[in-house]
Symmetry: C2
Subunit: 306 residues, 2 copies
């Protein structure tokens, strides 16, 4: 489902400078009050790559800010974490744009510009387990619509989210991407692997394996014997492992959220992979429109009190 702009939404500042600033990437947008992207900057200046956050922001967005003196500047993502520029405390779920906008953390830069950091979200399960996200909440707001939505934002730490009428009710993190990388690079499974090209047949076999008895720790061993016994060529084993991992993620999340329809929010290649996996496990998949973070920042700006 794509974002539907509601007529009831508050109107934001004439111009908005929104930055989705994560661990390994920096994406900035100059937008009008309706969320239309007028200009954009993308770079690899994630928080692990740069130390001078103030200077980096100035370098990428200073000209926009000079040209639009009344523009709000909103920063979302890991830039608002302890490892970032200013720590913006987590906002507990359930939370929608109002609650999140009410908890922006403001800071004045060396050049005297006021910037606002978007808080991440936290959620504690009834059994006492905590979960957190930072950055994804902004993308979620960008694709949130009416009624109930279950979304996945795939990645190193995939986030599955239940949203109702634009409010994020609860969410769960799955360590799928990190798991895949650690198992590929640091266990016996990697020894027979060659390359990471996508093999749809091996990927589908991995997803099918995830539904068999024994669980993930057992299914993993197929990547070993699949190579040893020549059932799969070396350059298909990575896809087999990926299918096993994503299959288990989806099955676990379905169990958790009880969804039969899932909105996939992320980069095109990974989103297509997830849609493929969801379909083969009998779930309807829809791929979210791009620039979700930009739209989410617009919604937050429209609700923030300067």
């Amino acid at each position: 489902m794509t974002a539907v702009k509601h007529s009831a939404e508050a109107r934001g500042p004439a111009r908005l400078i929104g930055v989705d600033w994560g661990t390994s990437s920096f994406r900035a947008y100059l937008m009008d009050a309706g969320g239309k992207v007028l200009d954009r900057r993308e770079s690899a200046d994630g928080i692990l790559a740069v130390q001078d956050f103030d200077g980096t922001l100035e370098r990428h967005c200073g000209a926009w800010a000079d040209a639009h003196r009344d523009a709000s500047i909103l920063l979302a993502g890991m830039i608002g974490s302890r490892q970032g520029w200013i720590e913006a405390p987590y906002c507990p779920c359930p939370a929608g744009a109002e609650e999140i906008a009410a908890r922006l953390t403001r800071h004045v830069t060396a050049r005297g510009r006021t910037v606002a950091f978007v808080p991440g979200l936290s959620w504690s399960s009834p059994s006492g387990a905590d979960d957190v996200m930072r950055g994804e909440e902004t993308q979620i707001l960008g694709v949130a619509g009416k009624g109930r939505q279950v979304m996945v934002l795939p990645g190193s730490h995939s986030k599955w989210v239940e949203v109702f009428d634009g409010r994020i009710l609860r969410f769960a993190t799955f360590l799928t991407g990190e798991f895949f990388a650690a198992m590929s690079k640091h266990t016996i499974l990697g020894r027979l692997m060659a390359g990471e090209a996508h093999d749809p047949k091996a990927f589908a076999a991995g997803i099918a394996a995830s539904a068999e008895p024994g669980g993930l720790l057992h299914h993993l061993f197929r990547v070993r014997t699949g190579g040893l016994f020549g059932r799969w060529p070396a350059d298909s084993l990575s896809s087999l492992l990926s299918g096993i991992a994503i299959g288990h993620e989806i099955r676990g999340a379905r169990d958790f959220f009880g969804a039969d329809r899932v909105l996939v929010v992320g980069g095109a290649a990974l989103a297509a992979r997830y849609a493929e996996a969801l379909g083969s496990l009998g779930l309807a998949a829809e791929i979210g429109a791009p620039d979700a973070a930009a739209r989410g920042l617009t919604r937050l700006a429209a609700r923030s009190v300067p």
Copy 2:
């Protein structure tokens, strides 16, 4: 010398030199025909640590062999793999001591001694997945009894096995140990961990978590947030992860084999950990007697044709 043994069992050679030679360890036993261990040698001369297999065997067991010229010499474990000394082809399951003894691979050493390599086992599931073991089959034979037994041999690659009247019907590998190591050392989970001391409370919490919805990839994130939110001290996080991993292994294996009673075969510390986990998941656990490999080698020697 009169052999003391099962009256129904075939009679083996007067003396047996049995070696359980794995990836990282070398364990040799001098035994009488009844399986009584008369002498033993243990070292870290696993197949990854030594290149000269012939010389290593001679160094540890040459004096025994000189003193007992009629002794059979049996080698089990990864020494019989492609990475070892002589590759002994897998024996397909179901298989008992007869089938395994019939497939020993013989070789004459530089000093003119005949040594026999015990084959590993393979099993292919009805769905077409393969599984293999090498070395564990000998330990299993050492603890096999009458009727149906479900066993676990915990480790880097835990083996779960279904045995009936001494025959190994089928088995399944779980990559639990390697998974634990890779996740501890090569993902974000390790960042907050300090030490690997056993905390029974955190271990039990991990096992309990494994029964909640979401699956392993989600439960892993508790190790992150458990540290972030101060629910567990840094030196308990390793036990929490261990409980999550072992809990998932046991739940997967229970699903696979349908067992309510499990025989744990392995080193004392790890066996105790598994017994604890089995108990808290409602399964009866029994810990196997030590020197299982030595007894298994005796059973094989009793059935082998020189």
